[in-house]
């Protein structure tokens, strides 16, 4: 089981409490599709992804980004139980969505960048450390049911 210090819990809760989920989710997912274009393979039915402007203006992508971020909320509310919390989501991503689990890390990196851009100097090294630990646990849990 993953151990969290009180400081880590506070830092992570603090990051999420300051986030506009709709805005940050949309930005993180769009950035992922632009910076790592092969990730677009999972979004064939989402409409126009032909260039960066199209991706950033695509309402389906924005909505899905927000959905992903609300999904992260589940981990936030169950930090001592993230693996079990994500069992169903992991099965979904493996057996229905067929997402290569390496892509979870790519989206996580884009989310880190979007949060860093938003928080500026407040995104200290210790903040980044806690946030990336959280994301690593989530990514691991999402990949757990793949077989």
């Amino acid at each position: 089981m993953v151990k969290w210090s009180d400081k880590e819990r506070t830092v992570i809760a603090g990051i999420f409490s300051g986030l506009d989920y709709e805005d940050v989710g949309a930005k993180a997912l769009s950035r992922c599709l632009i910076v790592y274009p092969w990730t677009q393979r999972y979004f064939g039915s989402f409409g126009n992804l032909s260039n960066a402007a199209a991706i950033m203006g695509n309402p389906n992508i924005a909505a899905h980004g927000a959905k992903v971020l609300h999904g992260l909320d589940r981990a936030l509310k169950n930090m001592d139980n993230i693996k079990e919390t994500y069992t169903e989501l992991s099965i979904l991503h493996s057996e229905t969505l067929h997402v290569d689990p390496d892509n979870f890390k790519l989206l996580g990196d884009c989310l880190t960048i979007v949060v860093a851009a938003k928080m500026g100097q407040a995104f200290t090294a210790d903040t980044q450390l806690a946030f990336q630990k959280f994301l690593a646990v989530v990514v691991s849990a999402l990949g757990k049911q793949y077989c």
Partner: protein, 143 residues
């Protein structure tokens, strides 16, 4: 994933905006790397002080960004432009190349936090590709 003319233009454009802060970016990125990825501290056991903003960290951050500046200047042939640095990393420093990706990520995070408006998704993709090319060039002489 080689650099297109568009990528090179994007890298030079954002570099012109951020290069004045090169030393600060380097120090911050290196300090961040040592904190967020503690395994990287193994390469610096000879430093007296590994805390962020310590003198060795600041000086080395400056050195690293000097290497980045060189890569920007030699952007049309990064592999050959960084031959000497590659030999140094391969034969003397012997840094595991996986760490180049880690430091690249930290540099990007620092640029995002210091220059949020300039670090657009388009700038991000070109810079990410650029750092991939730099990392590959640094690993060129390893084996």
């Amino acid at each position: 994933m080689s650099l297109t003319e568009k990528d090179k233009a994007a890298v030079k454009a954002i570099w012109s905006k951020i290069s004045k802060s090169g030393d600060a970016i380097g120090a911050e990125a290196l300090g961040r790397m040592l904190t967020v990825y503690p395994q990287t501290k193994t390469y610096f056991s000879h430093w007296s002080d590994l805390s962020p903003n310590s003198t060795p960290v600041k000086n080395h951050g400056k050195t690293v960004m000097g290497g980045v500046a060189l890569a920007v200047a030699k952007i049309d042939d990064i592999t050959n432009g960084l031959t000497a640095l590659s030999e140094q990393h391969a034969f003397q420093l012997r840094v595991d190349p996986a760490n180049f990706k880690i430091l690249s990520h930290c540099i990007l995070v620092v640029i995002a936090s210091m220059f949020p408006k300039d670090f657009t998704p388009e700038a991000h993709v070109s810079l990410d590709k650029f750092f991939c090319c730099v990392s590959l060039a640094l690993a060129e002489k390893y084996r």
